[in-house]
Symmetry: C2
Subunit: 210 residues, 2 copies
């Protein structure tokens, strides 16, 4: 997603408890200081329809098991709205978009986690995103035990946080694998480092892009 008058598209990924929200806020501050017009957003969500899907369907409000296929379809329905109605117009007018989770999370959670084929997800991705992808994906990485311990302190477990340890091992493994396959698009930050070091790493990374 390049060309010089356009904004950049940066996504922040990682399992629960690695500090994505803090990283998102910090990225916003760094870019603001550089006078870069910035939009901070999140997935699933970012538009009224997508937030509605997140709140009511991807969280267990209804007494019926959500199938992995339906979960995938709902994720991409929310993403289509977010990408085409919010992200793409912002980027086209020169705004940098920083998004807490995007399609890498689908590969990790619905793919590696729930067992849906990677090729199938790629088919959805290329259709819904018109073959456009993030410029930079920052993966905050930590061992599953440490990350989940942090996530537990924070709030009630959501539907994903109720998953098994093995589920999150597969999710983490998928993120790291993707970073290894496409080193130019991905940056892995060790989220077990002291907070100021993580922030320093993130700042340097963003400054390289501004």
């Amino acid at each position: 997603m390049s060309s010089h008058d356009k904004g950049r598209f940066i996504t922040i990924e990682g399992i629960e408890g690695v500090g994505k929200s803090t990283a998102l806020r910090l990225a916003g501050e760094v870019l603001k200081k550089e006078n870069v017009p910035t939009l901070l957003t999140r997935e699933p969500g970012g538009t009224p329809i997508a937030e509605f899907i997140r709140q009511n369907l991807l969280n267990p409000n209804i007494d019926e098991k959500l199938l992995p296929e339906s979960e995938l379809l709902l994720m991409f329905a929310a993403r289509a709205q977010h990408f085409k109605n919010v992200i793409l117009p912002a980027i086209n007018e020169g705004t940098w978009v920083v998004c807490d989770r995007f399609t890498d999370a689908t590969y990790a959670y619905q793919g590696a986690g729930r067992g849906i084929d990677r090729e199938r997800i790629a088919w959805f991705e290329s259709w819904v995103q018109n073959e456009m992808y993030p410029d930079l994906t920052i993966i905050l990485d930590a061992p599953v035990d440490i990350a989940l311990q942090r996530a537990k302190k924070r709030s009630l477990p959501d539907r994903f946080e109720q998953e098994t340890h093995q589920f999150f091992e597969r999710v983490r493994e998928c993120y790291l694998q993707r970073a290894e396959e496409w080193p130019t698009r991905y940056e892995v930050i060790d989220a077990t480092l002291p907070l100021d070091e993580v922030q320093e790493h993130l700042k340097n990374l963003l400054h390289r892009w501004v």
Copy 2:
């Protein structure tokens, strides 16, 4: 979807105002008289999650335009829940399922109506339905003017009923084309005939299957 201890899967299709609900009820009565265990259902809907999607996302409750891609994704999310949690288990235990609209409606409305490729819909269909298809699809056919006139008398227009005349011409054309392509699966009933003739036609059709 055959084999002798299993139930049959019958779908009823057609544009607004052709009498699908009446036909569904009648089909239920005919099969009941024959002591065939029957489930009458509808799409989008038929499960708590699918009905929720119908009521809240496929009808205009949220102030954001629903994109054609998202509409398609939501239709298939609802269908996955309905097909795998309700229709398939019923058929497997010997129940006949009669459904007011199914995937033909997706070809007609999201495909011919909104312009999404037929091949793309076929890809979703084969995935979500595990390559299983209705045994019999009854298309109630009437010219668009007559059908919409009837639909208007009945209730407030829904999101689809607000579409243009041309939209419904394309939808009707798609239904008729499918019936022509696969004459063994489809039966077209002229919905402009007097009600008792339509019902007679439907009865004869079902008796051939029982």
